[in-house]
C-alpha cells in the first residue's frame, strides 16, 4: 500500500500531482488540491480528458498543484466560466474541474457564475471561499460576513453574498458546501460532483491563514504603524498548519481558525431532502441567521438538460469532426447563392 498503490489506469497517486504549491503554508486551498488529487486518483480518472479551469487569485492558482497531465487554463479574473463554456462545447468529452475564488466568482465574476449555472454546463465548479481577496492582500470579498473584522481590511458592514443561495436562485442543478479541512466530506462531495451531469457548484470554505486574522487576536504579531505600510512592504507572513476536522452528518462542529476565532460547521443530516428547492433555501437562510455554516449536498436536480443537450451537440466532439463535415460541399454554396438575389 501507500507509495506503490496504483489505480485502475495503473497510475500512482504521485501521477495525479503537479508542481509544489506556492500558496502559504496552511492555506485551506492546499487541502482542497489534495482532495482533488485523491479523488481523481481513486476514481481512476483519465487526466488527458480533464481540463483544469480557473480565474485569477490564490485559489485560481491551485490547478498548478494537481493533475500535471491535464491541460489547464488560467483565464482572466472572474471570467473562467465563459472560457470553460467554450472549451466544453468544442469538445464535450472534456471533464472540466474548475477552481475559483470568492472574489473571482462572488465579485467580478458573479454574472458569469450565474449564467453558466443557468446554462447547466457540465463542469465541477469549485469555489475556494475565504471571504477575502488573498492574492491582492486581504481586502474583503463579497462573501465576507457582515460584522467581520480583519486587521488588513477593517470592518465589513455589508451582508455576505451566499454563493449557494446564488446558485440556487440561478436554478443550479447541484449545490454543495463543505469545509476545506474536512477531507472526508470534501472528497465525498467531489465524487458526487464529478458524477453529476450539469454544473456542480461546490462552495468550500477555505480559510486564508494570512489575511483572515484579527487585529485583536492575541496570536497575531503586528508591528507596522499602519496596515498600508505593511502591505506595501509585503510583510511577514507566518507559516501555519492546515486545519483538519472530521464530524458526523446531522451534527454541528465548532472549528477554531488560525487567528483564534471560531466558526460553526453544521453537517446536513439524512432528514434534509436535497431535491426540495424551498427547503434548500430555508436551510441556507437559517444557517445565515444563526451564523452557522451548513455543509453537505444542499440541492440536486439531475433532470434538467445540460448545455450539451440544449445545443444539440453530436456524440463526436465538434473538434473531431472532419473538414468534410464542417465545410459544406461546393454544391451547398450553389444552393445558398440560389437563395440570394442574383443577376
Amino acid at each position: 500500500m501507500g507509495r506503490t498503490k496504483t489505480n485502475a489506469l495503473g497510475l500512482t497517486k504521485e501521477d495525479y500531482k503537479f508542481r509544489p504549491s506556492t500558496l502559504c503554508p496552511g492555506c485551506g486551498h492546499n487541502s482542497i488540491s489534495n482532495q482533488i488529487i485523491s479523488v481523481t486518483f481513486e476514481e481512476s480518472l483519465d487526466q488527458t480528458h480533464i481540463i483544469k479551469m480557473s480565474g485569477i487569485g490564490c485559489s485560481s492558482k491551485s490547478p498548478a498543484y494537481f493533475l500535471g497531465r491535464s491541460h489547464a487554463f488560467n483565464a482572466v479574473h472572474g471570467r473562467m466560466p465563459s472560457v470553460t463554456t467554450g472549451a466544453v462545447m468544442a469538445n464535450r468529452t472534456l471533464r472540466a474541474i474548475s477552481v475559483s475564488g470568492d472574489g473571482d466568482s462572488g465579485n467580478i465574476g458573479l454574472g458569469q457564475f450565474k449564467h453558466v449555472i443557468r446554462r447547466n454546463l457540465p463542469m465541477v465548479y469549485i469555489i475556494e471561499n475565504n471571504g477575502v481577496y488573498g492574492l491582492t492582500k486581504g481586502q474583503f470579498s463579497a462573501t465576507a460576513d457582515r460584522g467581520q473584522k480583519t486587521k488588513y481590511a477593517g470592518y465589513n458592514e455589508l451582508p455576505a453574498v451566499d454563493l449557494c443561495i446564488e446558485a440556487l436562485a440561478a436554478n443550479a442543478t447541484f449545490v454543495a458546501r463543505s469545509f476545506s479541512g474536512d477531507a472526508k466530506q470534501v472528497q465525498a462531495i467531489l465524487k458526487a460532483a464529478l458524477a453529476h451531469n450539469g454544473t456542480a457548484v461546490v462552495d468550500i470554505i477555505s480559510p486564508c491563514v494570512t489575511f483572515n486574522d484579527l487585529d485583536t487576536s492575541t496570536k497575531s504579531y503586528h508591528w507596522g504603524k499602519n496596515h498600508r505600510e505593511i502591505l506595501n512592504e509585503i510583510g511577514f507572513i507566518q507559516s501555519q498548519e492546515e486545519i483538519a476536522v472530521e464530524y458526523e452528518p446531522g451534527t454541528a462542529q465548532p472549528v477554531q481558525m488560525h487567528d483564534g476565532s471560531w466558526i460553526v460547521l453544521k453537517k446536513l443530516g439524512a432528514d434534509h431532502d436535497p431535491t426540495d428547492r424551498v427547503s434548500a433555501f430555508r436551510v441556507l437562510h437559517e444557517a445565515q441567521e444563526r451564523q452557522e455554516i451548513v455543509t453537505g449536498i444542499i440541492y440536486i436536480d439531475p433532470s434538467r438538460p445540460t448545455l450539451v443537450e440544449t445545443e444539440h451537440l453530436p456524440e463526436t466532439p465538434l473538434v473531431h469532426l472532419p473538414e468534410t463535415q464542417i465545410r459544406p460541399a461546393p454544391s451547398v454554396l450553389e444552393q445558398a447563392l440560389q437563395g440570394m438575389f442574383a443577376f
Binding site: 491541460h71 467554450g86 464542417i326
Partner: protein, 628 residues
C-alpha cells in the same frame, strides 16, 4: 376632398437637355417600422435586375417604430456604387420630416407625396403651400387606392400596404420594370402567391392610376442596361455574406451578444448553420450561444478556440471595448479566435445605426500593454464572405485573434457584389500536434514546448486538450511564461517571449492579403483607403482625372501593413489617406509604422455617420492639391 392639383411643374428650374437616364437618385422618406423596407427592397432589386448600377443606403434610427428613416437609391449609368447624399427624386411619406426633406431637393428635383388627408402619413397641407416652385410635384391618393383593393386588407396592415402605392406610382413615372417588381416581390415573399398577389395587385393598381392621372413631366427615367453585371452577380448585405462565409470556413462555435449593426451577422450564421450544418439525426456540427454580454461572448470563443474549434464572435464598438482584456489574453496566450466588428459611430453609444470606420486603431491595438492584432478589411459582401472563411485560417495558422472590421454600410445595406467563390484552399488548421505528431515531434526535437519556436517563424506548436498523450498537457495563462508554458517572472524569459511573438508578426505581415493597386497613367498623387470607401474612391479618381489630377489608388486589405504599402507611398510626394473616422486612424497607423514616410500622408477623413461620397472627397483633394 376633391382631388385637385395632382401635379405641378416647376416655374423656375434649371434646363435639362431632355431625359436624365439612369443617372440620378431616389430618396424615400418614411417612419421606421411601417414596412417601407419591403417596398424599397423591391425597388432596388428591380433596378438591379434591369441591369442598372444602383445602391441602397438605409438611414434608419436607433428605435423600433415611428422615427424618421430615409432610403437612398442611387442609379449610375457610369457604374458608380458609392453613396450620394443628394437625391433628385423624393418620395415624402413622413409628415414630420416633410419640410426638411422638401427643402433638400435640388432645383429641378421631383417630389412625390400622398394626398389623402385621411391618411396619417398625408401632409395636411395643399400643394399650394409648398413654397418651392423649382421642383416637379406629383401626388398620390394612397387611401383611395387602398380602398379599391378587391379584398379589404386587415386594417392592421394598411399602414404597411400604403408603401406599395409609391412603388406603383414610381414604376409608372420612372419607367421601372413591372415584371421585375413582380419577381422581386415573389423573391421577397418566398413565392407565397397570396402575399405576392396582394402586394403586386396594389402596385399594379397604383401604376394604372398614375398612368391615367399623371403626366410625366420631369426628366428622370430608368432604362434597362445590358452587360453591366456578369451573371450571378449578387445583391446582398455583408452580414449575411460574412455569416455564410463563416459556415464555409467550418465555424464550429459562435458566441455573441446582440448589438446593432452586428446582430444579423451572428443571426445569419446561425440560420445558415441550421440549414447546412445539421446532421441527419438532428445534431448540430456547431454550437451558437447567445452570451450574457460581450465579456462572456469573447471568453467563450477563446475557450472554444483553445480547445481546437474554429470560434468566432461578432460585435460592434461598445462590445469591442468590453472585449479588450480577454483579447489581450488571447494575443499573449496565443489562442486563435475570430472577432467581427461591424462598426457603427462612436465614441460611446454614439450613433448606433450609422456607419463609420472609427474602431480601426483601437481594434488594432486592443488590450493594455503592447498588443497588436491581425485586422482584415473587407470592402463589400463578397470580401465579407471570403474573410468569413479565411479569417479562421489566419487565426489558426498564427494562433492569435483576427479582427474582421466591417461596418454598418457593408454589413446592413444591400450591395451589388461579385458572386461568392468557394474556398480555393483546404482549411489551414495551423500547427496542431495530435498524439502521434507529438510523439514524432519529441522524437525529433527531444522535447516539446507550447511556446517553443523550432521553425524560426515565431509560430510554436500547440496541442489540444483531450490529446491522449502523457506529455500533451500544458498550462495556458496570461501571466509570464517560458517556452514550455511554465510560469516565469524572469526578465529575459519575458523579453524573449515577446520578441518571439514579434517575430511571429513578421511572418503574419508577409502572409496577409496584399493591398490592391489601381493605377492610372501619369498618376501624380497616391490615394490610400480601405473597406467600404472603395466605390467612392473609384468615383473620386474619375472626377480628379477630369480635373487633370491623376491618381494611383492602393486599397489596404489587412493590418499589420504589407510591404507594398511602403513601396506605394515611396512613389508619391503626396498620398491622401481617405477614411470614415474623425481622427484619420489609418493615417496614424501608417505614420506610426512608416515614420520616414509620415510627412507624405495627408488625412482626408470625416465622421458624420454617412458613407463617404466622391464629391466630398474630390473637393478635399482638389483643395489640398491647390494648396500644395
Amino acid at each position: 376632398m376633391t382631388v385637385v392639383d395632382l401635379q405641378r411643374v416647376p416655374s423656375s428650374a434649371p434646363q435639362t437637355n431632355g431625359k436624365v437616364v439612369n443617372n440620378f437618385s431616389f430618396v424615400v422618406a418614411t417612419a421606421n417600422g411601417t414596412g417601407s423596407q419591403t417596398s424599397n427592397n423591391t425597388l432596388i432589386r428591380t433596378l438591379f435586375k434591369m441591369g442598372i448600377p444602383v445602391n441602397g443606403k438605409n438611414l434608419f434610427p436607433s428605435n423600433i417604430k415611428g422615427e424618421p428613416t430615409w432610403y437612398y437609391m442611387r442609379l449610375s449609368k457610369d457604374g458608380y456604387l458609392a453613396h450620394r447624399p443628394v437625391a433628385e427624386v423624393l418620395v415624402a411619406f413622413n409628415e414630420r420630416t416633410f419640410a426638411q426633406d422638401v427643402a433638400k431637393l435640388p432645383p429641378g428635383g421631383v417630389l412625390i407625396y400622398p394626398i389623402d388627408d385621411t391618411d396619417a402619413r398625408a401632409p395636411k397641407w395643399n400643394v399650394q403651400t409648398i413654397k418651392r416652385d423649382d421642383i416637379y410635384i406629383y401626388r398620390m391618393p394612397v387611401d383611395t387606392l387602398m380602398n379599391q383593393l378587391p379584398e379589404k386588407p386587415n386594417p392592421s396592415i394598411r399602414e404597411y400596404l400604403a408603401n406599395m402605392v409609391y412603388v406603383g406610382v414610381m414604376a409608372y413615372l420612372f419607367n421601372i420594370d413591372m415584371d421585375g417588381i413582380r419577381d422581386a416581390l415573389s423573391y421577397h415573399f418566398g413565392g407565397k402567391e397570396k402575399l405576392i398577389n396582394l402586394n403586386f395587385g396594389l402596385v399594379q393598381m397604383s401604376y394604372d392610376w398614375a398612368a391615367e392621372n399623371l403626366k410625366k413631366e420631369d426628366p428622370y427615367v430608368c432604362e434597362p442596361m445590358e452587360g453591366t453585371f456578369p451573371e450571378g452577380t449578387l445583391l446582398t448585405d455583408g452580414n449575411s455574406a460574412g455569416g455564410l462565409g463563416a459556415v464555409f470556413g467550418g465555424v464550429q462555435f459562435v458566441s455573441w451578444y446582440p448589438i446593432t449593426p452586428s446582430s444579423s451577422l451572428a443571426e445569419s450564421a446561425q440560420e445558415y448553420l441550421g440549414k447546412y450544418r445539421v446532421n441527419e439525426d438532428g445534431s448540430h456540427t456547431y454550437s451558437v450561444i447567445q452570451a450574457e454580454d460581450e465579456l462572456a461572448a469573447i471568453g467563450m470563443a477563446i475557450g472554444a478556440g483553445w480547445a481546437g474549434a474554429r470560434a468566432m464572435t461578432g460585435t460592434s464598438g461598445p462590445g469591442i471595448s468590453l472585449m479588450a482584456e480577454f483579447v489581450g489574453l488571447a494575443y499573449y496566450a496565443e489562442i486563435p479566435v475570430v472577432i467581427w466588428d461591424v462598426q457603427r459611430v462612436g465614441p460611446s453609444t454614439g450613433l448606433p445605426t450609422r456607419t463609420s470606420q472609427g474602431d480601426l486603431l483601437f481594434a488594432y491595438t486592443l488590450g493594455h500593454g503592447d498588443t497588436h492584432h491581425i485586422v482584415l478589411l473587407p470592402k463589400d459582401p463578397t470580401e465579407c464572405f471570403e474573410f468569413g472563411w479565411r479569417a479562421f485560417d489566419y487565426a489558426e495558422q498564427f494562433q492569435t485573434p483576427v479582427f474582421v472590421l466591417s461596418d454598418l454600410d457593408i454589413g446592413m445595406n444591400m450591395h451589388i457584389t461579385e458572386r461568392f467563390q468557394y474556398p480555393d484552399q483546404p482549411m489551414n488548421r495551423g500547427k496542431v500536434l495530435d498524439a502521434k505528431a507529438l510523439s514524432e515531434f519529441i522524437e525529433k526535437h527531444g522535447k516539446w514546448g507550447r511556446y517553443w519556436d523550432v521553425d524560426g517563424d515565431g509560430i510554436p506548436y500547440r496541442t489540444l486538450p483531450g490529446t491522449d498523450h502523457p506529455m500533451a498537457a500544458y498550462f495556458t495563462r496570461g501571466t509570464g511564461h517560458d517556452e514550455f508554458a511554465a510560469y516565469s517572472e524572469d526578465a529575459e524569459v519575458f523579453e524573449r517571449n515577446l520578441t518571439r511573438i514579434a517575430r511571429k508578426f513578421q511572418t503574419v505581415r508577409k502572409s496577409l492579403p496584399a493591398p490592391v493597386l489601381h493605377s492610372m497613367d501619369g498618376a501624380s498623387i497616391g490615394i490610400i483607403s480601405y473597406g467600404s470607401n472603395d466605390p467612392a474612391i473609384e468615383e473620386t479618381r474619375d472626377y480628379l482625372a477630369a480635373q487633370d489630377i491623376k491618381s494611383d489608388y492602393l486599397r489596404i486589405k489587412a493590418l499589420p501593413l504589407h510591404a507594398d504599402v511602403e513601396a506605394f507611398i515611396q512613389r508619391f510626394d503626396r498620398v491622401y489617406v481617405v477614411e470614415n473616422n474623425f481622427d484619420g486612424q489609418m493615417t496614424q497607423i501608417i505614420r506610426m509604422e512608416l515614420p520616414h514616410l509620415a510627412a507624405r500622408l495627408k488625412k482626408v477623413c470625416r465622421l458624420n455617420g454617412l458613407p463617404l461620397d466622391a464629391d466630398w472627397i474630390t473637393e478635399q483633394i482638389v483643395k489640398a492639391e491647390k494648396e500644395s
